[in-house]
């Protein structure tokens, strides 16, 4: 029995070896793992993220005279000595699978670094593997603030955290109260009872204290619920001025529709990175999704104005793969790929310690970030992370805050359902 098991194993290893070595390249390959949920509930987002990483790699590996990005003009890295190869892997949205896949990528596939993992709950154990093995782990869009509070040395994250977003939300409310006399005094929070939703809610509570926003409703719900009637009824009877929402995909549309059904709206509804910023969800909601707001690090409208080179990358390499424009999650993974490549370029090769040192200390220009640059603070969080508040109008995200990026006068309070 043991013998046969080992034979099978050796045969599999041999197969794997053939599989890997069959691609012969003149330049040396640097493998980078792309660990995302390719199956399971978050699969669509995960697949977009892999495509985005691959788009970035095409920019790096190929000659792209038309794109004005630091690594676009030359072929490969360090004068053509290295090229990047993406190894996609699937963690199904499960922390235990993420952990074992991260180990497989580092040990078996010998990847130099991993980019991942979309779900915060999967990023945590996977990056713990990296930290223990002293390998690089780059995170684009997982938003849990706890990720960069662990004191990891090999972990870097691009996205603004729930904490940054919450502070921005209340800053905006403070601004509205002061300048526009909006009179927003009470807050309701509705969030899915998961790692993501709970973190967001905790940060919201912390931020609300700063401007004495009174929390009148704190409504966690089970994701994938059959209905949200009692949740929305609770919000309605507490009648807060503003609601912070953290509901993904289908729960978001269920939430919006249930509010329509009970004919209630707060003055403002601001969402964390959720179903709100998913164009597919908004398309299905149609005009019901109007006037809701949310924090975003990216929107097609903003991209046109502030990241023209990013649009070029999108049109040339991303859209042909995924049949849609970048979204705020996937583009951040592409940015992390770019940052990694720039650091390898500066280090002159794939030397983990050198590259880590460079990522940790230097500032990188980034054509796909709103702020145009990336710089990590000592905890690994991108200090230049920017998030803007947008309001949805007929499926187009209009930027309303910070004022520097504002391109639209928001409708506040939201137009009630019966007046639409």
């Amino acid at each position: 029995m043991k013998q046969s098991k080992r034979t099978v194993f050796i045969a599999m290893l041999a197969l794997a070896a053939i599989f890997v070595s069959s691609a012969a390249f003149a330049a040396e390959e640097i493998k980078v793992g792309a660990l995302f949920p390719l199956t399971g509930p978050a699969a669509v987002s995960g697949q977009n993220c892999v495509n985005a990483v691959q788009a970035a790699v095409e920019v790096i590996n190929k000659k792209n005279a038309d794109i004005n990005d630091p690594l676009a003009a030359q072929e490969g890295l360090v004068g053509g000595k290295y090229v990047i190869k993406v190894v996609p892997a699937d963690h199904q949205g499960k922390p235990d699978v993420a952990k074992s896949e991260a180990e497989r990528l580092y040990n078996q596939e010998k990847v130099f670094a991993i980019i991942g993992c979309y779900n915060s709950s999967a990023t945590k154990p996977a990056s713990a593997v990296a930290e223990r093995a002293k390998k690089l782990f780059l995170c684009g869009c997982s938003s849990s603030a706890a990720l960069t509070e662990r004191g990891y040395k090999y972990f870097f994250r691009h996205a603004p955290t729930d904490a940054i977003e919450s502070v921005e939300f209340v800053d905006y409310i403070a601004y509205l109260n002061k300048e526009k006399n909006a009179g927003i005094k009470t807050l309701g929070i509705i969030y899915e009872n998961t790692e993501f939703g709970k973190h967001a809610a905790e940060e919201a509570v912390k931020a609300a204290k700063k401007i004495d926003l009174k929390i009148v409703a704190d409504v966690p719900f089970n994701n994938g619920a059959t209905n949200l009637n009692s949740e929305v009824q609770k919000l309605k009877s507490a009648n807060p001025d503003v609601v912070f929402g953290a509901a993904l995909g289908g729960d978001y549309s269920l939430w919006v529709r249930t509010m329509k059904q009970v004919n209630w709206l707060p003055k403002m509804a601001i969402n964390y990175c959720t179903g709100y910023q998913n164009p597919a969800v908004q398309k299905e909601l149609g005009s019901d999704g109007n006037f809701f707001m949310g924090g975003m690090g990216y929107s097609p409208e903003l991209a046109k104005q502030f990241m023209p080179e990013g649009i070029k990358i999108q049109d040339k390499y991303y859209t042909p793969k995924s049949n849609q424009p970048f979204d705020s999650d996937s583009i951040q993974e592409a940015v992390m790929m770019m940052v990694l490549a720039q650091a390898i370029e500066k280090a002159g090769g794939p030397d983990t310690e050198k590259v880590r040192e460079i990522i940790a200390t230097q500032e990188f220009p980034s054509t796909m970030s709103l702020s145009g640059k990336v710089k990590f603070s000592p905890d690994g969080q991108n200090a230049e992370a920017l998030s803007v508040i947008t309001q949805l109008h007929e499926q187009s995200y209009k930027t309303v805050f910070p004022l520097k990026y504002k391109d639209f006068e928001p409708t506040i309070p939201m137009t009630p359902w019966d007046k639409r």
């Binding site: 719900f221 289908g250 529709r257």
Partner: protein, 286 residues
């Protein structure tokens, strides 16, 4: 007070929906002593059918429930012929586990083909329509589903209790061998029962597309609730399942509003345990 009315009516409407979803399951259980684990996935398939009919051919789910009902009748019959029949009478839980395999197959097939995206029909006839009753706001799609639920449950009850076919079904349920001796083709009865069970969930799924998003995991919680409903109602008792569904709907709604929203399903499953420990065969069980 208006809160109370709203919560009460929401609970009743959810209860009616659960009754519609579990009616077929209850009937299959009662006649064959089989739990169809793929019940939730049947629901999902029905929802996808009506979604695509609505999306591509622009036919409103208010009419396409007929199509999904018929398709699910066939799917149910096929499931019986190819999967359940082979596993009947083998191991104790064999049909349950075989249909569990079917549920994995259906769920991941839909995941593979249709992606896990949430899909919602917009602009359906009933979409977003509401009316007021005693200070509570009632959504028309849910109300219509509730009416259908009453009709379907009543029709099933009538079929089983008042028709010759129903008597044959009852006879088969009580004693398969004796029924065969009486000249009842029990094979046909089983096929029909599985088909009818499928058709009920097909109708439910079709109507649900008017207000719920479709995705490959949509069946999960519904099937768990349906299991609880039929077991709470008692072995194959259609009125029992109906009463249990209403009870579950009310418990869910009242706990959700007056206790805590995250506890609503805890309460649903807890009420099952409490009742079942007092009455081990369910509310109407014998």
């Amino acid at each position: 007070m208006s809160n109370f009315m709203q919560v009460l009516i929401d609970g009743l409407l959810s209860g009616l929906l659960y009754a519609l979803v579990s009616a077929g399951l209850s009937m299959i259980w009662g006649v064959m002593d089989v739990i169809n684990f793929a019940h939730g996935e049947f629901l999902m398939v029905a929802m996808y059918i009506c979604y695509w009919l609505g999306f591509i051919l622009k036919i409103d789910p208010l009419f396409t429930w007929v199509a999904s009902g018929i398709f699910l009748f066939i799917l149910g019959a096929v499931t019986y012929r190819w999967i359940v029949k082979g596993s009947l009478g083998k191991a104790a839980m064999a049909p349950l586990l075989a249909t569990f395999g079917l549920s994995m197959l259906l769920k991941n097939f839909c995941m593979n083909r249709f992606s896990p995206n949430f899909r919602l029909l917009s602009g359906t006839l009933l979409d977003g329509k509401t009316f007021e009753f005693c200070g509570a706001i009632i959504s028309l799609p849910q109300f219509v589903t509730g009416i259908f639920s009453l009709i379907v449950v009543a029709a099933l009850y009538w079929l089983v209790k008042k028709t010759r076919l129903g008597w044959a079904i009852q006879a088969t349920a009580m004693d398969k061998e004796a029924a065969e001796l009486m000249g009842i083709d029990t094979e046909k009865i089983f096929l029909l029962v599985f088909g009818l069970g499928g058709a009920c969930v097909g109708v439910a799924g079709g109507l649900m597309t008017t207000y719920l998003a479709v995705h490959p995991e949509v069946g999960g919680l519904f099937s768990l609730i349906a299991f609880v409903v039929v077991a709470l109602g008692g072995f194959g008792s259609i009125p029992g399942a109906f009463a249990a569904a209403i009870l579950i709907g009310l418990v869910e709604s009242f706990t959700g509003f007056y206790v805590a929203a995250v506890l609503k399903y805890v309460a649903v499953f807890a009420i099952y345990l409490v009742v079942i420990l007092v009455r081990p065969k369910g509310l109407f069980g014998w």
